[in-house]
Symmetry: C3
Subunit: 377 residues, 3 copies
């Protein structure tokens, strides 16, 4: 894999591969969007986020089509947004319905209003071809809203490309090294056999580890730090937007008041802000001891510490990659197989989008700017 | 109008259009230039400004032709400037008259000394083809020096291209929206008919509003906030460097001690620092109540507040335009007619300069560096 | 000499000329390298520096060949360095000898371990073609380790290209101007005849000044400020990495306890960090009054002050050169002859390297990324 060597044929995605647009990404946590206008950059585009009076999330292009004023500096008028420069008023579909200086609304003036969908704590957005925005493609994350689960969560802004972050999650051989201090992964776990399955655009990891002490991140919230358990783990690169990992832990000789089986799900959500930065949200969910505030605190602290180690590492890698301008080969090894599978999927998706987009772009490039006839002002 | 799409034929100037060089710009306020060497960047070039012992302003290229040392880090020697590196001494015409390490002055060593002209509080500069630097082309701004007028003024450094600033001034439909809090423009004024005249490279706006209450910016200094007046307004895009607006206000039934007619002139001076930043000076002048310190204070505060709103808006637009890299069309409407007329003038001027400059640039590119024979040191 | 005009044939090196790689540069002072991992950027490459348990300096490429993690964020394991991401373990030759996730070390995984050589207080590095890294090419600087000499030293990080710094040292006509306050160079010295010899890739200046008061930088440490001396000076552009100047001062009528002859050597070491920045170390050495702490203090202060003037000047020039984007000719004069000779040498060396490197680069560009077979993890 080289950087700064565009002529060379790439075999897998890297930090230079164009972002995938035909994909549902998380734009924000549900709680981040309200009746205030909020700006965020997603996939290199600045967007405006707010809720209608009925509470529905709206995400639109954040530049007025008239003179590029950022609509997030304007104001809400009911469910509509009003540009702060000349007062152009757009409805939730992005169509201009009023302009104070014109006798009739210029209804051909439109901005993109992106398909959105709220699912529990997540607001998803589709910024690619609207015709392909099928809500059925939104990944299912029921554990995040199920009252039978308890979740702690956090977020990071990471100055790195999202491909390296996904690879980090598909690669468990870094646990004992990068996370030596935080103790993610036990020595036994690192040596357990891992199955890798590529199913369509999904990469699935499976690993089991029998009769072994659980790591604290499971043992503490289960209150089973004193004995061996059986552990079955599945990890999924589910989409460019999402990686999640399920763990099922079997308590072989449950005592009074204990469960026979415990489940944990860790959800990592990446939304590229730009080619070189990410909005990163993580969720640590469990189906046991839901009211245990000590467990909440422990999981929040230990997760934050461990993910910060990943974030630091990926920031450093991006800095290193940007510091040197000469092409540089990456060496890959057997344990990189899941990451390579994911990177080949991303490269294929990017190439498919590039081929589909090429003619459309040319068409838009020859469109003349529209000028409406003067109004009798 | 697109950005990042240079191949596409443009119909009017935008933030990517090359700056106009054959034009008188304001380099500085008269009071900014003295016997200290002062550096400023104008039209992308670093210049050196000072006054001779007789008080004449001198503006020269701020790089020594020998090893590029910024002359502003040197010192004055009478009317001449001395480079701080090797002591090359340049007269006010930019010709080297002495170099300590050479027996004879290298009189072929020259730097550009720009045509300048001081007019009241303004020092104008011509950075284009010197052969075209006709002082008769300097716009007249007599109200800035006439003792019958009183002026308050201020300045901004704006991180935006100057085209958008000029368009902002030619567009009065943003008054009730962007300036909603500061109350520039009354509702009646916004609805009054506007005439637009394009006269050569000048765009002239005319508007009258009869029997209507004056906005505070006129009413307070006239002390006529309690009644209706007739108001006649002219606005001029006078050159790439200057926009000014005259208001004549008729006091229909003057009481004792009041004038029958009041005049106001607001002057906006833009000098591109770079393609994406401006030196902006403004002046608010009146012909009434010249000694009214309260009026001065009111005008200073209200003007500063209102122009800050414009500056903020244009900064936000520039940020938005720079954030996204894809081409983007602007939509234009009837009220944009004056701005579009101005932008077509600027595009034509830029194209004319590009055609005139092309051969000259090629010639200079083949000139060999001059090397004088060694002196007996 | 033009900038931003790559098509024009250059006659001498300037700030745009590619850096010379086949050259011994100083990577660090000996005292800067120890058993901690230290990162530094040299010639545009990030390197890792440490010492083995035996105290030998090691300098290696600071990016793991696996996933570009900066090895300086890892740790030492005896004499080896361990990547902080997946634990790849490299010996001092840069060869991977262990990877925790693989059954056998991937011995084809290698990083560059640069030829280094410690000479007194200096650790030299060769970052060009390793086959040409002849230690005999390391410039001799015996005065820096000889117990008969006393040295004070300092360092700067300069935001300028190294060519202009070398030219500054070869040009003594700037002494009375740029260093007017610090009094480097006496008026008599400036007028003394200078011989310039170009010997291979070395530029040698020679100047003598008889029966003249010494400048304080020599007079104070000699304690001979009260009389005239004879002074013989040699300056050497010794390589892209090094400039040094020897002064021999003859005390014509030595009094009791005085020497007949005094020697001073000033050493300037430049290592390009990037195309536009330098690590700069200087050393002021004398063979007299070795225990004179007042002389040490005086030399440290006066040298720091004077070199800061050069550093400021070159920073300003680089800023000026970067501010304007149009091509700009440099004028050169007789006294610039040594600098021009040096700049022609640098241009020739750069051109030779470019021609030699061209085919090698193409080969590496077609190499496929190596993927080792999966290990039974």
């Amino acid at each position: 894999m080289t950087q700064n060597a565009p002529a060379r044929k790439q075999q897998m995605a890297d930090h230079t591969t164009p972002l995938i647009r035909n994909c549902w990404y998380v734009a924000a946590l549900a709680g981040e969007i309200g009746r205030e206008l909020k700006e965020r950059t997603l996939l290199g585009k600045t967007v405006l986020m707010y809720r209608t009076q009925d509470g529905k999330p709206v995400i639109m292009q954040n530049r007025c089509p008239h003179r590029n004023f950022p609509l997030s500096k304007g104001r809400l008028d009911g469910d509509n947004v009003v540009c702060g420069y000349h007062g152009m008023n757009f409805n939730t579909q992005g169509q201009c319905v009023f302009m104070p200086s014109l006798p009739n609304a210029p209804t051909h003036a439109r901005i993109a209003s992106y398909p959105v969908a709220e699912r529990g704590p997540l607001v998803w957005i589709w910024m690619g071809d609207p015709a392909k925005a099928d809500p059925a493609l939104i990944p299912q994350t029921p554990w995040l809203s199920d009252p039978g689960w308890k979740t702690v969560n956090g977020q990071f802004h990471v100055k790195t490309n999202y491909v390296a972050m996904h690879e980090n999650l598909l690669d468990q051989t870094h646990f004992p090294i990068l996370h030596a201090k935080t103790g993610i992964g036990t020595p036994q776990y690192s040596k357990s056999k891992m199955e890798v399955h590529v199913e369509g655009d999904v990469v699935h990891l499976y690993r089991s580890l029998l009769d072994s002490p659980p790591p604290d991140i499971y043992g503490v919230p289960m209150r089973l730090t004193d004995r061996n358990v059986d552990r079955y783990s599945d990890g999924y690169f589910a989409s460019p937007a999402l990686h999640y990992a399920h763990a099922r832990i079997v308590n072989k000789e449950p005592r009074e008041g204990e469960k026979e089986e415990y489940r944990f799900t860790i959800t990592h959500i990446y939304t590229p802000e730009t080619q070189g930065s990410i909005h990163y949200w993580w969720f640590n969910s469990r189906d046991c001891n839901l009211d245990d505030a000590d467990a909440d605190r422990f999981l929040l602290e230990s997760s934050t510490t461990a993910y910060q180690e990943d974030v630091d590492a990926l920031n450093w890698i991006q800095e290193t990659v940007e510091k040197e301008t000469e092409p540089f080969e990456e060496l890959s090894f057997g344990p990189d197989r899941p990451g390579i599978a994911m990177r080949k999927i991303l490269l294929r998706l990017a190439n498919e989008e590039a081929m589909a987009a090429a003619p459309a772009t040319q068409e838009s490039a020859v469109a003349a700017p529209a000028v409406q006839q003067p109004a009798a002002a």
